[in-house]
Amino acid sequence: MTWLRIVLMAAPVFAASLDSLALAQGGVDQRRSGYQDMSPALQQMEDDEMSNPGMLFVQAGAALWKQPAGKAGKSCADCHGAVDTSMKGVATRYPEIPKGMATPVDLDGRIELCRTTQQQAGKPAPESADLLALAAYVTYASRGLPISPPADPRLAPFRAEGEAMFKRREGQLNLSCANCHDTNAGKKLAGALIPQAHPTGYPIYRLEWQTLGSLKRRLRNCLIGMRTDAYAYDAPQYVALELYLMDRAKGMKLEGIGIRP
C-alpha cells in the first residue's frame, strides 16, 4: 500500500518537474549530442576511461599542471591548487571575458594568457601537445556538468556576431554552418551523419585525426570543407562562434574528453 501511495504522491511532482523543464526550453528538447549518434562500440570506448585515448592527454596534463614553467618558475597548481576543486565547472563557462580585458577568450586562450602573463613562459603553439593536455585536464574536471555560459551582458555582441557567422553563407560551396547543422542535421553527408554541432565533447579525440584536437581545429575542418579560407588560429571569429555554439548547447552535459569518428 505504501509504495502505491509514494508513487501516486511522486507522480505529479515528477510530471511537474518534467513540464517545467520542457517549458523552459520551449517544448521537448530536440538537441542531440554527437555522442548519442555514435555506434555503441565508440560510446563504450569513450565511457571506459581505460580505453579512451584522450585520458593519455589528461594524464599528461596532470603532470604539466604541477610542473613549474617560465621565468616566474610557477606551476599552474601554485596559483590554482587542485583541479578537482578550483577548475570544476570552469570549462562549462568559457569563452569568457577575463579581468581587465574587453574581448572574450576561450579556454585555450585563457591557458595561453596564464602561460604568458603569470608564468612568463612562451606562448604555446596552437594544437601543441602541451596546450591540448592542459585543456584536456581542465575540461576533465568539469565532466558531466551542464554547459552554462555566463550571463555577462558584454558577451552579447560577440555572441550575436557568432550567430551571424553561423547563419551566413560562405565559401565556394556557398554554405552556412546552419545549412548543415540546423536544416539537415540527422541526414547524411556522404557516408557520415551530420551532427547538430553541439560542442559537448571538446577537446575531442577524433579517430580520423588519430589524436586529440580542439574545437578550433574542428571549426577549421568545416571551413575548409565549405571551400572557404580558414581564419588564423588566434582569430577572434572562432571565439565568437564558440560563444554562440556554447549558448546553443546551454544545459547539455559536458562529456569531458569525447571520442568522435
Binding site: M50, S51, P53, M55, L56, Q59, A60, A63, L207, Q210, T211
Partner: protein
C-alpha cells in the same frame, strides 16, 4: 616523455582469470604517408609488446603499421604467484618502454 595507462587488479585469488589493459601514447606512423613537404614520413611504429609475470612471459604480440595511434591492448591471464607483471613495448627509433605493476595473490 612516455605516457601509458595500465589497469590491472591489485589483488587476485590464485587460479582466477584476470584482465590486464594497457594503453600507450604512440603516433604509430605507418611510413606510407607523405608529409606537408611531400616527402615520406619515416615509419615509426611499436613493433612488439610483451608481458612477463615474475620474469615468465605470459603474453606477446607483434604490431603492424595498420594499427591505429595510441594502441590499446587487453589480455587475460591466470593468476599464479604474487609478484610483478612487466609490460614492455619496443619499436622503431629505439622506442623502448617498460612499466611494471604489482599484483598480490590472496
Amino acid at each position: 616523455m612516455t605516457n601509458a595507462l595500465i589497469k590491472a587488479p591489485k589483488t587476485a585469488k590464485r587460479g582466477e582469470t584476470i584482465e590486464i589493459k594497457a594503453l600507450i601514447q604512440h603516433p604509430m606512423e605507418t611510413g606510407f604517408r607523405p608529409g606537408t613537404n611531400g616527402r615520406m614520413i619515416p615509419r615509426n611504429i611499436i613493433e612488439h609488446f610483451s608481458a612477463a609475470w615474475n620474469g615468465e612471459e605470459i603474453f606477446r604480440m607483434t604490431f603492424s603499421p595498420a594499427i591505429a595511434a595510441n594502441p590499446f591492448v587487453s589480455f587475460f591471464t591466470v593468476v599464479r604467484d604474487s609478484g610483478t607483471v612487466v609490460l614492455r613495448w619496443t619499436g622503431d627509433q629505439d622506442f623502448r618502454v617498460e612499466e611494471s605493476i604489482a599484483i598480490a595473490v590472496t
